[in-house]
Subunit: 344 residues, 2 copies
């Protein structure tokens, strides 16, 4: 049953010999596009031989010959962040129907690892890249762009680079969050920002300042988190509390940062939403089952991935086409973590 020493995989040559034709003929018979050049009879013979031998074309050889691999790379900062798997699925759903295969790599938010992984993707001749790790300053992406690498950014952008990108409408989402909190009653609103080295962090933070100022509120209560993580969110909120800031509502840069607030509430004996309301960003799975259920801004992650994939296919088909930025609509999802101050 076990077969430690399998016979080598059959090649096109084996098929051709079995069918009594030349490899060129076999190649044409096996390829749907060229099959019509071949008599139906020989085509059948070849295909039968291939079937019998269990022939599977060697994509490596084919790619070398055609200089087309039919693969694109997808660069993700952290697959364990629930935000990204739906993006992956969206990307795959479109690219697969376009005949492409997706090579997912994880960078762990590490620039050196990112460099190595992208280098590996390129050496494997991917035909394009979908990148979710962009920072505002990103020499590597800049360089790739200058080298003519087909590339679409997702969720985040690079400054002054004119790269095609698909993101959620962060500014509108943050504004909606702030308005929702303000409508609950007079209040001070704090903002726990994601890293300002990313466009997402920067855009949301700026939108927060604008939104609170428009309402005549203070825009001073802002703390930056070093990473988009629970622990950094917790640290930021602790810092805010420790400096004696007065507020009854928190907007978090994303859901993970909001979850960090939950930890601090427990530590400090604060009730949410009674003492402090919190609002997240992304609407990652299972937020409705938290204590309390987290109010958040829903971003259509699957669609984000799908649209980015479509854009990449367009880039590959027509390299000269101008770069577009697509902003997908977001929506406020009100749950139990926001309420009028002093209520519940």
């Amino acid at each position: 049953m076990t077969n430690p020493n399998p016979s080598p995989a059959p090649t096109l040559r084996d098929v051709a010999e079995a069918a009594g034709v030349h490899t060129a003929t076999a190649s044409r018979a096996l390829n749907p596009n060229t099959r019509r050049q071949i008599s139906a009879e020989t085509a059948r013979r070849v295909m039968r031989a291939a079937q019998a031998l269990g022939y599977q074309p060697n994509s490596v050889a084919r790619s070398l010959k055609t200089s087309r691999t039919g693969t694109v790379g997808l660069v993700i900062p952290d697959l364990t962040n629930p935000l990204f798997p739906p993006i992956v699925r969206g990307v795959e759903s479109v690219l697969e129907s376009g005949g492409y295969h997706v090579w997912i790599v994880n960078t762990d938010n590490d620039a050196e690892r990112e460099r190595a992984k992208i280098e590996s993707l390129r050496s494997r001749q991917v035909e394009g890249l979908i990148v979710a790790t962009a920072r505002l300053e990103h020499p590597l992406l800049r360089q790739l762009h200058e080298q003519g690498v087909r590339m679409v950014l997702i969720n985040r952008q690079v400054e002054h680079l004119g790269l095609p990108a698909v993101t959620g409408d962060d500014a509108t989402g943050v504004a909606a969050a702030v308005r929702h909190l303000a409508a609950l009653g007079p209040t001070g609103i704090a903002y726990l920002s994601g890293p300002l080295s990313t466009s997402t962090g920067r855009v949301r933070a700026r939108a927060f300042r604008h939104a609170v100022r428009d309402l005549g509120l203070s825009d001073e209560l802002v703390v930056e988190c070093a990473r988009w993580s629970e622990s950094d969110g917790a640290a930021a909120l602790r810092a805010l509390l420790d400096r004696g800031a007065r507020f009854t509502a928190v907007v978090a840069g994303n859901d993970l940062i909001a979850l960090g607030c939950y930890d601090v509430f427990a530590e400090r004996g604060l009730s949410c939403p009674g003492d402090v309301s919190v609002i997240g960003f992304n609407d990652m799975p299972f937020l409705d089952k938290l204590r309390p259920p987290l109010t958040t801004v829903a971003v259509p992650h699957h669609e984000l991935g799908a649209e980015a994939a479509r854009m990449l296919l367009d880039c590959i088909d027509d390299p000269g086409r101008p770069a577009r930025t697509l902003l997908l609509p977001v929506s406020l999802v009100v749950r139990g973590s926001t309420a009028p101050p002093g209520a519940g």
Copy 2:
């Protein structure tokens, strides 16, 4: 800035010409293993030329020549299940330090998609497979095994196939869960099983029956879920309640099924753990923030992935080595979803 028509990537030949040597010499100079055959002087010249041209070796061509791709495939049923990303990370961490790259594919729990993806991986000449989609009856995996494909199963096994596998110690975990519930007081315990077409489903269900029988309790309260999902878990619990079953505790086949129970509790006005205790399996992220925090059995997913990767490396190094099954220890994590009947 934009470069729609980039110059073609430099090849080894370009480097050789620039350095004034033959391609063979350039190849040897650039490869750390063969560099010592070359004079230090020419090696330097070649490497400098490569640097200057921005040369990157073409892995496709190299793979064709060496018949080694340095890649392995990782077959995942559903990346959006929070259980799998940590496994992916574990696999990657080991394989990368072994010089391999991981190609992740998502099957969406669909057999046809699985077949297509694995075929694609094979045509791309992956050197081995780590498979997390196994069913007890799995003709495709059986066939691959007979063809001598190097393969390690993770989390689930195939019946009667003697494939190397790494899983959590499900039976011990379920037994611990049942004992925990029994210790809380006299009670009827129900079991919401995962699909019995998977080894994980089968092993856990059997362990449940044994555990309750050992305690002199009924083993009749078992319902099978068609999939490992929240909605199927909810449906199973509804079915149990609708047939008037009497129980004060539920063991769920995994955490998602347990989350489905939360939905039904809300629908039917049941309090957890007051009316019914629930216990999950896996300890996926964020369970501690649920209402109530979910008691569960923690499985070391990262380690699962890492060990499977080590096993695969062993299989590749020594194809003749006998298949081993590795059972990693699990641990009960008691949180708020379990309590003595009628309490809190």
